[in-house]
């Protein structure tokens, strides 16, 4: 069966200007209980790779530079 991708607007946003993943930080990726954050090969910054979020906050609370913002997922906003 052919597959199509399904677009969603993701709840977690990273401010590239503040993110220091290019200096080796992976804190948000490490702590996320749902394991949905990754560091982009393209930009060297953290981003939400999978829209499977419990809007729980560890990523935002533990980020050393305040780069992460957790929003309420669109479907339940």
């Amino acid at each position: 069966m052919p597959l199509a991708s399904y677009e969603t607007s993701v709840p977690v946003v990273v401010d590239d200007a503040k993110c220091i993943a290019d200096k080796g930080c992976t804190v948000c990726v490490d702590v996320c209980p749902l394991d949905v954050l990754r560091i982009s090969d393209l930009t060297g910054k953290a981003f939400m790779a999978y829209d499977e979020c419990w809007y729980c906050m560890p990523c935002e609370a533990d980020c050393p530079t305040g780069a992460v913002t957790v929003n309420i997922p669109y479907l339940l906003r």
Partner: protein, 580 residues
């Protein structure tokens, strides 16, 4: 390395005690096991990261069930939980918890976790339950995980993050032999041989689909996909009272607690659309949920948590708690909706169904030593059958399990297991990665959970359950033969989907077996609307027998705290008379 690439690898390690799940019960179990025998090897295996995993990833605002000398006695607490559970309780385990939890509070205090005290230095316990007083706020509740993590490091517990356990290994002699797990970022298999194993994998929280339609917008931490229940089942352990579902009253759409336990002691209450109270007590029980459900169905819904009548200072105090710990995005959610506690009441709804003993009574069967029916296999926390045990129960029973499991491990050797079991499990785990073409796990999971809502949600109707079983069997067929996983993250979801479908099957099977109604909404069967104590004053145990799901009755252990006849139905009288 490409993101979440699949590496086909397998390694094997061994330890004395293996703890699976590093949320709440797990860390305490690991700590107590290690303290019991500091020379032994204790491994704590976690699907996520112990620093921030489980129900308490952002801490907790308070203890829901603290039995504190001067406020409550173990006898009182045991009595209350027995009544709240319609009598189906083995009291020994509840009593043991009630006796030991105070020492765990003192220990948590020594870790740096603070509990609210009044001017005299006594614990400021609040009344939320129907009969007794057990709710204790935690002023720095957001620090719980950090405090515990420090203790784990100090005790040199070996922590393995990002390993999802998939199956237990049992020895040829029937004892536990270890577990099989898979790395969630590389898909490499890790086999862990152990003398004793403690299951602390939390609730089956991804069973029903939240009404928002967002698959991860569950009440429970969405990482708790019921893997522990599925693993215990496949290993042949008995699971108790799975028909006693978890269903909670929550903020509509947000799907987190509102939270009446925090706001209630200040004067907040649950109201209907006329602003009137309709339940006597906000403590979450099946009987209370039934009244909540009835009100929603009647013309008097929606249901609200009302606190706009409170003083501004009081509301600010409530806000600082509710918007800081447990589910801190609550504030953001209300802001988006334009809900200010000072002006509008909070619209409430009921959650999706799940299994959880922390809140209700559906869990892997354990006795007062946290022993399951498999020698060497223990369970604690939300997934073990001690009812209503919440966070303090997870800590306390985790401690019981850790101590006892180490005792067991010290007096036993590794059990021999069949290498073919590992090979078979490896094939099962990797199967979705070997298919070129098929259905991705998110679609299979969505469909299974949508069917759970359509057919298995109370009120339970026999005909609907039978149809649900048929539809779920079709989904299972797709899952077993056509599901694909294109990277290791998708494989994690694929494996979780298998646990979810197993739990759905167990929910249906267990519910059909008990031909009566009990526990209010949790097991409300329209074709058997009455409580039938003559035939069903018993536990039900579900297990795998000769490869098939089967259920049997188990007598309730004789009470150690007697319940008088006029106390038995105290929880049945939840509806406020005047408004009825």
């Amino acid at each position: 390395m490409a993101m979440d690439q699949i590496l086909d690898g397998l390694s094997e390690v061994s330890c004395d005690v293996l703890v699976i799940g590093g949320g709440t019960a797990g860390p305490m179990a690991a700590l107590k096991a290690k303290l019991k025998n500091p020379k032994a090897n204790v491994v704590l295996l976690e699907k996520a990261n112990v620093k921030r995993s489980g129900a308490i990833s952002m801490g907790m605002d308070g203890l829901n069930n603290a039995v504190i000398p001067g406020y409550a006695t173990p006898e009182q607490y045991t009595k209350e939980i027995t009544i709240a559970n319609d009598g189906i309780v083995d009291q020994k385990a509840v009593y043991k918890y009630a006796e030991q939890c105070y020492s765990i509070i003192e220990e948590l205090d020594s870790f740096g976790i603070r509990f609210l005290k009044n001017e005299n230095g006594d614990y400021a316990v609040k009344k939320v339950h129907h009969i007794g007083t057990y709710v204790l706020p935690m002023p720095n509740g957001e620090t719980v995980k950090k405090a515990i993590y420090r203790q784990l490091r100090r005790a040199r517990i070996l922590i393995s993050n990002r390993y999802m356990a998939t199956r237990l290994l049992t020895g040829t002699d029937g004892r536990i032999a270890g577990a099989i797990s898979v790395n969630t970022r590389t898909a490499e298999i890790l086999v862990i041989k152990a003398k004793a194993v403690i299951l602390c994998m939390g609730a089956a929280g991804r069973l029903g689909l939240p009404t928002s339609g967002y698959m991860f917008g569950t009440y429970e931490n969405a990482a708790n996909s019921g893997d522990g229940y599925a693993m215990a089942y496949h290993a042949g352990a008995a699971l108790a009272n799975l028909e006693c579902f978890q269903i909670n009253p929550l903020i509509k759409d947000y799907n987190g607690p509102a939270c009446a336990y925090v706001a209630g002691p200040y004067g907040a209450f649950t109201a209907n659309n006329e602003g009137a109270r309709f339940i006597e007590c906000d403590y979450w029980s099946g009987q209370m949920m039934l009244e909540f459900y009835n009100e929603l169905q009647s013309g008097k819904g929606p249901v609200f948590l009302q606190l706009n009548h409170l003083h501004d200072d009081t509301i600010s105090e409530i806000e600082t708690t509710l918007h800081k710990v447990e589910r801190p995005t609550r504030g953001l959610f209300h802001e988006g909706r334009g809900t200010n506690y000072r002006e509008q009441p909070i619209e409430m709804h009921i959650s999706e169904i799940g299994f959880c003993s922390g809140h209700s009574a559906s869990g892997v069967f354990v006795d007062e030593f946290a022993r399951t029916t498999i020698p060497g296999l223990y369970a604690a926390g939300d997934m073990a059958s001690v009812p209503h045990n919440y966070m303090l129960g997870a800590f306390t029973n985790g401690a019981v399990a850790g101590t006892h499991a180490m005792d067991y491990a010290d007096n036993t050797d590794f059990a021999d297991f069949d290498a073919a079991d590992v090979a078979r499990e490896r094939d099962r785990v990797m199967a979705p990665t070997k298919r070129e073409d098929g259905v991705p796990p998110n679609q299979i999971e969505y469909k299974a959970r949508r069917l759970v809502n359509d057919y298995l949600q109370p009120p339970k109707v026999t005909r609907k359950f039978e149809l649900g079983q048929r539809r779920l069997a079709e989904v299972r067929d797709d899952m077993e033969n056509r599901m694909i996983a294109r990277n290791s993250h998708e494989l994690l979801r694929a494996l979780e989907t298998q646990s979810i479908v197993d739990c759905a099957d167990m929910a249906a099977h267990a519910s059909l077996y008990r031909t009566e109604s009990r526990w209010g909404l949790y097991h409300l069967r329209t074709d058997y609307p009455e409580k039938d104590d003559d035939n069903w004053f018993c536990h039900t145990l579900l297990s795998k027998k000769d490869g098939k799901m089967s259920s049997e009755k188990r007598a309730v252990e004789p009470y150690i705290v007697p319940i008088a006849d006029d106390e038995k139905d105290l929880y049945d009288k939840q509806r406020i008379r005047a408004s009825a």
